[in-house]
Symmetry: C2
Subunit: 228 residues, 2 copies
């Protein structure tokens, strides 16, 4: 059997998503950790031998190299179709299209606002020694509020999960982005009880894998909360 | 046969991409124009009956509704597999994965910087009567330069097209984003002859459909150039 090497760092949202997808579907893989904090991805060797995008997550499946989390999940759902339960990545053409509609929407509307806000608020003091610029932060928060409101309106109005009655990778992709907000003490659930209830449903259904994937950022969030 | 209704406005980049994909593969569809300039997408009826995302492009295939251009193209490649040439959207799992790797990368790295720069530079004077803020524009241009340089380095180093020897929808998605830059007289090819040569290859291969899809923005670009 071709060996699947999974390169990741659980500090990265899409890394957590693919990790959960692999574990929940019992896809055997070889753990290949990349330490983002040590900037391991920025070397010339990494670029030439491991991943030309110099990011995580990515896979090596035999000598086939693939990056981009949504493409990885789609590929794994095909390659391990006997292991992956249909609801995670539906084979029916229309159901698959509805999943891919979310996965396309996700990049700019969920991932970008959640990650931009968190990284700016978290990293500015670490990188510069100064607090974040209030005007810039307010602008990023505006984008974040819009993103979270749209999730509630566009994706949680159709049933308990993004695609309706059953959980899919869409829910995991979104949950991993939203979870990171606690690192900077941002309460995504204020005025959004539906979002909170949905995230708890996703967590319950995916545990213990969900908490395992989030252990690192839960630790950082606890420290961040203690500082307040 | 189920009727395919295609809702679009050729002012929109992803609308042009899906339009070209439909025409190049001779997929029969019913033309449903949405005038973005008249804000037709913002009404309550549009949201409830046509597309809850209030954007273009989208399709109605019988009573199945689908938005997001990359999801639409993936769906059409499955539904019209006897019409769609394999190179546009490969069926082989690994080739499909490489295409989807680009389509995932596209959102934040090609589409976002091209569209943000163009819309800001083009729309600010129209909406406010004032020229664009120079500092903001310089920031957007920085992102655009990075995006265009990455296309050259990451996607044009593997062959004449993004996936290697054969053209795929990845090339059309990227070309439609880059083409819009001429509306604001931005020269994407300065110092990037490989990008120019690639865009000409894509255009030649897709013509006359390419020029047909770009007729509206070519007209706007000509007016914009005449003003200089």
């Amino acid at each position: 059997m071709t060996i699947l090497k999974y390169y990741y760092d659980l500090l990265s949202q899409p890394s957590r998503t693919v990790y959960m997808f692999l574990k929940l579907n019992k896809i055997p893989f070889q753990d290949c950790l990349v330490a983002l904090r040590k900037n391991e991805q920025s070397s010339k060797e990494f670029k030439e031998q491991l991943n030309r995008f110099q990011k995580v997550p990515f896979i090596h499946h035999g000598d086939f190299k693939l990056a981009e989390s949504t493409a990885i999940v789609s590929y794994l759902a095909r390659e391990y179709r006997e292991l992956v339960s249909d609801h995670w990545y539906p084979k029916n053409s229309k159901s698959q299209a509805k999943l891919e509609e979310y996965l396309a929407w996700h990049h700019i509307n969920t991932r970008l606002p959640c990650t931009t806000y968190t990284l700016y608020k978290w990293m500015t003091p670490i990188m510069t020694g100064n607090p974040p610029n209030e005007k810039v932060l307010a602008q990023y928060e505006g984008n974040l509020v819009k993103g979270l409101d749209q999730i509630k309106e566009l994706w949680l109005s159709q049933g308990p999960y993004f695609l309706g009655d059953q959980i899919s990778v869409a829910d995991i992709f979104a949950a991993c982005e939203i979870e990171q907000l606690k690192v900077v003490n941002y309460d995504a659930f204020k005025g959004r009880p539906e979002l909170k209830a949905w995230l708890e449903r996703v967590r319950d259904l995916c545990n213990p894998v969900y908490d395992e994937a989030h252990a690192v950022i839960n630790k950082i969030a606890a420290k961040s909360k203690a500082k307040l």
